[in-house]
Symmetry: D2
Subunit: 359 residues, 4 copies
């Protein structure tokens, strides 16, 4: 078993990381790491708020052995005490601490701090595994034994999976996207106000649209030597928040380079990702994409847990009535599974198996 | 006072029509008309369901004098007994009965039955009042003393208002729209299932997208002699249902003919509709469009009631990062006020004052 | 016109106080007062948050003249500059500042700071107006020209109104109550978390049950000389939070001293409060209680706005199957209207007319 | 493996029964049975609505082998073709068909049709397993080889589990209960209206209170010879519907015969059900009751799935301030797991193992 530390363990993404790793066949959580405020406390005590309530937000129960682990402090944490570090810190501390850890130890990160570095790939399971080679460039550039491998923004997690087979088969020229995002993406402390979200939609998420409009081109880009050449298409997005707990829905209007029918798109999506599935990574679903013919689907509450929250559901694929080579569809991904901790874990699994060759 | 009948009075739109007309300075409800099932009953008794509950759905209280009116039957209703008919029937009965009424009496309709007839305008307050002249063509064509004037689809009510000043000033080339529609648009008997809508989004509304993709071009078209020449732009839409009671939000990506800045768009929207406002129609708001600089707005629950539910709120106007001459924004309209009965009433007010010259 | 200051004007209750006073026939808002943080700013600027959003939470629009008033600081505010002070501060500052103001000026307060003082009544419109005489005792005891008149806890606002006619006619022996409380009662900064309240119930509200279990006995007590003798019945309560915006629902199991039928209770509730209504206070509803026969009512969203949010709706009155002299019912009151600012305003109206005799 | 038929298989409870039985170690679903409308169709086709949508409502995926089973008709179904029948029919058809099946075959039923027959127990897992002996009386009385064993009303499922250890240790004199019930209890066709439930509470559930007020006394009664002597305490209830998907919360005010402290109650609840757990029935949880010290719990969305939806969570145990020997608490049970199909399955497991001795 590989020893894994979760840094940022008390936050909502850290909690999801814990849940993702429960009973994992390759990884064992041996360290829980957090800020000074939590350090030296038992994990369960670090979760208590001022009212004494335990702020454990996952539906899964917190196992007693995890609850009783003593939290270490991130600033003084010894990265060589584990084989892999799962960083779920906020961007600020991530910027400072992840490079320190990476000197010696592989860091899988859910933070955005290093996503836009030229020598850093944004790996998405099954989409751009060849980009993992860029981590060797990163190691060389920076003189690290470890590396930093960040996950993508959660909103595009489903979009890039759905775009990949279209890009490979028909080319992508342009994407117009509107997201209807779940509330869990806003975190928990304090997160969104119930009075703001009840029976309402908020048509803005600070800082989100620039990520949606730029990350996919890098993820879907081509590795050329020691850098990635971005995929040459444009994306424009409007990101909204809807009263849903989990599951980001993206309404996409895609123009392809070559003409294709909705049936063509359905076919390439359905067949997509078989080789990745055959790696049999523990967190991978049997199908990366599930295409539904029910026009009323995908729905966040109903479809988000498909494939353990790792399958993207695509529906309403149809010909666009006005856009040249236009295809319209709706895609859904679980933002706190595929789009966050579990998606990062899937990448970790790929890297320890195929890049580090540790399992 | 002009005598007005509400036909389809027991349905949700009929109820909203009643509310819109309470205390109206020009119109007095003198007849409530509905299907055979309700006819000869007191209105309040016609609203009772099997459990004895009174299915009056408006937040406003049902006045006693309306409650006690005896409902007449639509099939045998004498249209000459009133000056104006406010039809809120479903499309089926509207198709059959509205022409009978229109032989003698003006019919303002919320039904879609006649929207697509070449000699029938789809009037939207302040947007295309000149199209009212087509009603004279309709009268002549069909030998009617009255006419049928249908309102638009509720989803586009806000979109066309927001597009009109753009079209007039910069031209419109193309619109990509995603709607986040409120549940009240689905009616009440039975309407949507609570289990389907709770903490969820349904990405499809049967029959909606074709209306959104075609009605605006007619509404924003030019009257040329005895017909309307559609505005020459394309619209593509995806319509979704969100857990909101009232207020349809439309996320719009608009390409204009001439370049314009967000400030330009804000300016023409803010100045728009002053001449219409100066008609001082009883149901018209002081501002047809309210442009907000708060990026978190418009929000359905918070902004829908602006201007008595008749003002369209536009926010997040910004330059599109990839579309040529592209502008992005979000607009909100109250689907059961501007988008339904009260919007139709505003049209009725315009017609009795400026077309029929009865007030 | 009487000059009124709102102290605590930027908070949610202060905002509701402003709305309650718009267009008031007797009071004119001449001062807006708040903490140091807001002082010297224009009111609308004091409402801006870090994102620049204006945190005005009322559905009613903020009038321009109010928006442009310059906020004064509570600590240095001169109470003699107004005729009446409307205090919507939190309990802490209220404890300190209200007595300073009361030396010279009547203070109507929504805070709990002075509710439990023996020389201070908790006035509820139409329920215990005779308790106003205790304010003269308070003035004498404390050497004040003004006074402090606090409103009740919002949860019991509807309960005490519904209990009063039962108490007067049949006596009350015991009350078992479960509240289903709206989220607005928890305030706005930060208020409740959307993730906690979505599709959920929280069965606890810190500090609420002791208030529900003790305030009604004082409010429904008898003024005897210079003190109130509490009504001699017990209340036990469980208070829960439900995903509703406004409107506290209380499920009550009441045992009376004398036997009575549901019809008896309906009759005394329906007839209740006529003398108070005849005072024609501007904020008073035509009926203090509206008894509904529809078993599915009262419902918070549907019934809360009755009588301008000042009418209590009672439904499901029925004989208890096991409790001696037991009656069961459900009552609903608008927690931010009757239960907060507007309820306090109604008391202010009574006091300026009947106690201070200023109008 | 025992062969089991699900009768009423297309309804929501039937679907939950299917899910409960997936991968079951003792039972294999060999027949799906429904009304004439569904008979002879493949199961998945029987689920399709007029729009072509598959009305499968469980979050778990429908397995292909179940989807492809051909549905048989309930009226002509041969009960001898299976070992056990799981009836999830409505009360009407249950009244007629269950006795026909019971002539030859054990029937576990979620319907209320036979609950109140003197020779029929209402078995609740771990609470009254000794009542199973009454099934032998039923068989003798009616000349049946099989039997009918109905589950309890879903609202009381958690209440009776929480009352049992109190009754055994301290006696129960009286219960005042208010339920906050989830929407899934109202079924799916059509179920509740989204417009009625959004941001609202409905304080009435037709037919529910009489069941809550009478079933517990039978379930908690004593088997004496060939009949059950009801437990001698009274219950009064108000049942409300809240916007929650699953999980019925009951607010209880209990008066015991002997005095007891909250700590006493916590202790007997925590220790309760160990002997039943030791039977290791496949659907039984490790703990029948989980007592939480967090005052903000139990919450429906957060706690309903504990123990696979079979554990009752009790919180807020405290001394009542006015009731003699009074204890207050809140309890939560998953209404469509413990309170419906999975609860019935747990009973089926007990009966095949300990009454029929088939495993």
């Amino acid at each position: 078993m590989l020893k894994i530390a979760i840094v940022g363990a008390t936050g909502i993404v850290g909690q999801q990381a814990i849940v993702s790793l429960l009973g994992h066949p390759w990884f064992q959580i041996t360290k829980l790491v957090a800020s000074e405020r939590s350090a030296t406390k038992k994990y369960i005590d670090a979760l208590r708020d001022a009212n004494g309530s335990i702020r454990w937000w996952c539906p899964e129960e917190l196992p007693a052995d995890i609850a009783n682990m003593v939290v270490e402090e991130a600033a003084s944490f010894d990265p060589t005490s584990v084989d892999v570090i799962f960083s779920t810190m906020d961007a600020g501390p991530a910027k400072e601490l992840e490079p320190k850890y990476a000197k010696t130890t592989p860091v899988i990160s859910t933070a955005s701090a290093f996503r836009y570095e030229p020598d850093t790939p944004i790996l998405v399971g099954g989409v751009n595994m060849d980009h993992a080679a860029l981590l060797a460039v990163q190691q060389k550039n920076r003189g690290w034994k470890g590396f930093i491998s960040p996950k993508s923004n959660c909103t595009i997690a489903g979009l890039v999976v759905s775009l990949k087979p279209i890009l490979d088969n028909f080319g992508v020229k342009q994407v117009v996207a509107t997201s209807l995002q779940a509330m869990s993406g806003a975190g928990r402390t304090p997160g969104l106000s119930a009075m703001d979200m009840m029976e309402n939609v908020v048509p803005y998420i600070a800082g989100e649209e620039p990520k949606v409009e730029t990350e996919p081109q890098k993820i879907l880009g081509k590795l050329a030597g020691d850098k990635i050449v971005n995929a040459p298409f444009g994306i424009t997005a409007t990101c909204t928040r809807v009263p849903v707990i989990d599951g980001h829905l993206v309404v996409a209007f895609v123009q392809t380079e070559k003409p294709c029918t909705p049936e063509d798109v359905k076919k390439v999506m359905t067949e997509y990702g078989k080789d990745f599935a055959e790696l049999h990574l523990p967190s991978s679903p049997a199908h990366l994409i599930d295409v539904t013919d029910d026009p009323f689907r995908p729905q966040p509450r109903v479809d988000r847990d498909k494939g353990g929250g790792m399958t993207v559901t695509v529906g309403r694929i149809r010909k666009d009535p006005i856009l040249e080579n236009g295809i319209k569809y709706v895609c859904l991904a679980h933002n706190t599974k595929l789009g966050a901790a579990k998606g990062a874990l899937q990448t970790a699994e790929y890297l320890v198996k195929n890049f580090l060759k540790l399992v």
